[in-house]
Amino acid sequence: MLNLLYLLASLSFIVGIKMLGHPETARKGNLLAAVGMVLAIAGTIFLHPTPVSGMVLALILGALALGTVLGWVAAKRVMMTQMPEMVSLFNGMGGACAALISLIEYHHHVGQAGAMASIVAGLVIGSVSFSGSIIAFAKLNGTLSKTLRLPSYNLINNAFLILTLGLGIALVLNSGTWPTYMLMVLLALALVYGVLFVVPIGGADMPVVISLLNSFTGLAAATGGFLYDNKVMLTGGILVGSAGTILTVAMCKAMNRPLSSVIFGAFGGGGAAASASGTEGNSVKDMSITDLAVLMNYSKKVIIVPGYGLAVAQAQHVIHELEELLESRSVEVKYAIHPVAGRMPGHMNVLLAESNVSYDKLVEMEEVNPEFASTDVVLVVGANDVVNPSAKTDPSSPIYGMPILEVDQAQHIVINKRSMSAGYAGIDNPLFYHPKTSMVFGDAKGVLTKLVAELKQM
């Protein structure tokens, strides 16, 4: 009976992931997987073959209830802009769970090499995933804004990795006969490695890292499946492990950055400094909000390029208002969505959908690029790297080769930014000095609110 439930749950995971891949069925797929998960959890508790003490059962149900309430509230309260760090945090919890299981089971399987291998692997992968996810979380929510890079960090990281793996293998070969403190040393090493692994990685690459850590946690769950010979843990864990890896690669492709350079060769300081000094001395053109209102009011076609700056400023509702206002004056308005706009692929679509922007107004990069030539005004709000022409023209640029939105084809380019500071990738943008470009400085929400007010008076 229990195994049948596990089979059903495994099937629900597979079909659920499949359905998550299509816009029409995605939500149902998520629900299906959730139902499968409830079946697996309920079955594990209530169909356990041996009698269980009431106290233990109460503890399990208590932990489940507490976790459900906390998880539910956290997930419901989090703002859409903070979604990526929330996913990272939940991922870290899963990793910690796997590591704790290994800590407890270590003493129960002394002398069994196979079980010991699963336990040690679960401990190492789970801990790396936990500490790495916490660092990714801190980086995304701004607690840890500096990208720390120890001198020759690649060397130090690899040394830690080898040390961790070496100790792990030694523990397995001795089948748990070593004293407990060696296990604690391994735990500490794995936790430190997780931190070292994520700390040097640049903010722009954070989604890739989260996706990678996500597949790590999947593998950690799978090690638990090996340990208990539990098919639902194996299916769930391995599915996420492999699907997560493919997803990571797909994200790297969207940014045109090989995975190896995300992990080992984070965005270089040298190249950034060089290109920054190259454009120094060029001047930028300022534009007043009133001028922008006039310009837009008498345009035929406006394309908005939203970026993360729009999201941080919580301006997705105002921009929808602007869009409706312009449409009511028969200006054609579209949104150009770069595949990595926001902090994660698809993040910007979620944010704009939240403020009721119609799905068919969001145009993807390949479709929108030919349209810029016939566009009067391109309004870039809080985006930077995705419109940086160096990606096409400057082979020394760290983002060289990344596909961009070709906004310089339009008649007028208006860029709203808070300041002249460089974008997420930390590199300068020659588009700001383009003769067709005007800058409107200020917080996206403030600027757009004023713009809407000006337009209403016309």
Binding site: I17, L100, I101, I238, G241, G346
Partner: protein
């Protein structure tokens, strides 16, 4: 070492097939859905909670330390599962067609 593999051949077959299924499932997903998909996958690896529950069920009721660790494991696993599915649902809710 070889013995270990021979004894677990079923599991190894299982592992290889499941890994391929995972790869195939993600084949052609529009980039719009990358974030929800990652979040959904994140919830699914919360299945590790089954392991945490098994630890607790097999735990000696007098073993306080392990009961505490097990409780923590179940709690963290639940956060992963519930938080993961609810966040994913919230993201996908926004893709509804609005006319």
């Amino acid at each position: 070492m070889l013995e270990l593999f021979e004894h677990n051949l079923d599991l190894i077959y299982f592992l290889i097939l499941a890994a391929f299924v995972g790869v195939e499932l993600i084949g052609k997903v529009p980039s719009v859905l990358h974030t929800p998909l990652m979040s959904g996958a994140n919830a699914i690896h919360g299945v590790v909670i089954v392991g945490a529950i098994l630890v607790m069920l097999n735990c000696d009721p007098n073993d306080t330390l392990n009961l505490i660790l097990g409780f923590l494991a179940v709690l963290l696993g639940t956060l992963n599962v519930v938080g993961g599915f609810v966040v994913t649902d919230r993201m996908l809710e926004m893709f509804k067609k609005k006319k």
